[in-house]
Amino acid sequence: MLLPVFFVVSLVVFFIIHLVPGDPIDNLMRAGSTPEQRLLIEAKYGLDRSLVEQYVTWMGRLLTGDLGNSIIQGRPVSALIARNLPYSLELGIAALLFSTLTGIAAGVIAASYQGTRVDDTITGFILLGSTVPSFWLGLLLILVFAVWLGWVPVSGARGWSSLILPTIAAGLGGIALVARVTRIAMIETSRQDFVTLLHAKGLPPFIIQLRHVLRHAMVPVVTILSLRIGWVLGGAVTIEYVFARPGLGSLLIRALNQRDYPLVQGCLLMLAMAVIIGALIGDIVQAAMDPRQREARA
């Protein structure tokens, strides 16, 4: 199954950028350069050959693990991705942790106080947080916490203090989703017979909530998280832009704007593979966590 998927993905990834009008050479030419130089550069990157030929060459290189060279930056695509990946992972994981932990906590509390004002307040606040565009939220956060209060730096990617605001801006939207799923799953699970039984046994309610109900409720949450790997790696474009952080999203968008074909293709392919692998890991973790599936195997 993985092989045909990989093939289809590679086709889409290779050809999609060629659907965008314009070409990378225009971004290399400056006042005074000649048409001959243009042809030379075209030939250097094989852009003078047919698309099918280019695809075959690209694919052949790919199988040996070579993503080619960026046309605009003149560096290996893999090196550029490797340079940006840590920043994306740093922010992505921080944002994911932030939104998951806050989301689960909020979901659990809201479920425990289901139908009361506490539930409404929590749900309301989280909702509000998820409805503002992240670039707007980012600017607002900078204004309040960096400019007025001066607690953290405005932008950049140096040290943990510069990670706080981007994490909040990128993670706030995810809280609502996680909290919503957790809350519903908690409520559904707490209605199941085994929970009633545990209550009848006289276990303290918070232990039941945290040890038994939450574990069951986590299954759908994990499913959602495993599908968010794409966001972790490439979804923070706007945040990266506002906070002047490097990252895969920005790398891809800049490459797209410059029509840097090999770089766009490399980034897209890497994201797609990460997404596929993320879904696989999600399946495995989910199977390991679900008590029903575990018991079935035992």
Partner: protein, 283 residues
Amino acid sequence: MIKHRALALLKAVSTFKGGISGAFLLLLVIGALFAPWLSPYPYDQQDLGIMNQAPSLTHLFGTDEFGRDVLSRMITGARTSLSVSVTAIGISVLLGLVLGATCGYFGGTFDRVVMTVIDLTWSFPEILIALMLVAIIGPGLEGVVIAIAIAYLAQFTRLTRTQIMSLKSETYVEATISLGAGHAHVLFSHLLPNALAPVLVAAMLATGDAIILEATLGFFGLGAQPPTPSWGAMMSSGTAQLFIAPWVILLPGLAVALTVVFINLFGDAVIAALDVRAKFREA
């Protein structure tokens, strides 16, 4: 069935949350529909003598960098933002229903192939898909509509497919099939009508997300072509006057946030009113 749904809607509106949010959304839609008549000024009327003026009685929401009335631009902007997201989600839902129903009903290789592709796009950040597609399709609202429609297609396909699959295994459907009913009959008379409610609710919530996505694309300068305003485009040009005319960026942002909050609240109210199972248990 129809009556039951109308009843649910009524029920939703009669709750506190549902009532407030429903009223807000209704006002918004009316505002968008009748924008040219409700705007105090033409949205593209420049007056370089009154650039970046703070909110006042003559210009309730102030003026922007060309001395245009921000309130008028926001009303017309509501029209752009709403019509783009509603159209996009509408297209997305239609395609998603067809794809999801076919996959869920027939299963097999077709299902596997389609779902693999769909899952891939689902896991890709919408913003990347949208930026890519807009680059291909070109500037203007059409590009943004198509981009948003495709970005959300996976969600509706998945949801419809799950619905159809679970309904298909219900006894009465199995009975209908065994009685020799045609595929089309089963799909359209029995499965789709029952699968529709959750998809429509999801569509409503997605419309909220689509408004945010439209705003984000507007922030990158894509979508509405000047002088046509959209909330995103207004925020984008407002960043340059953050300190001297903060209302240009703050008000459209608030409008987006409020609209999406109310869409969500209304969606919740509808879900609560529709949720037959929950009502059974509570009874």
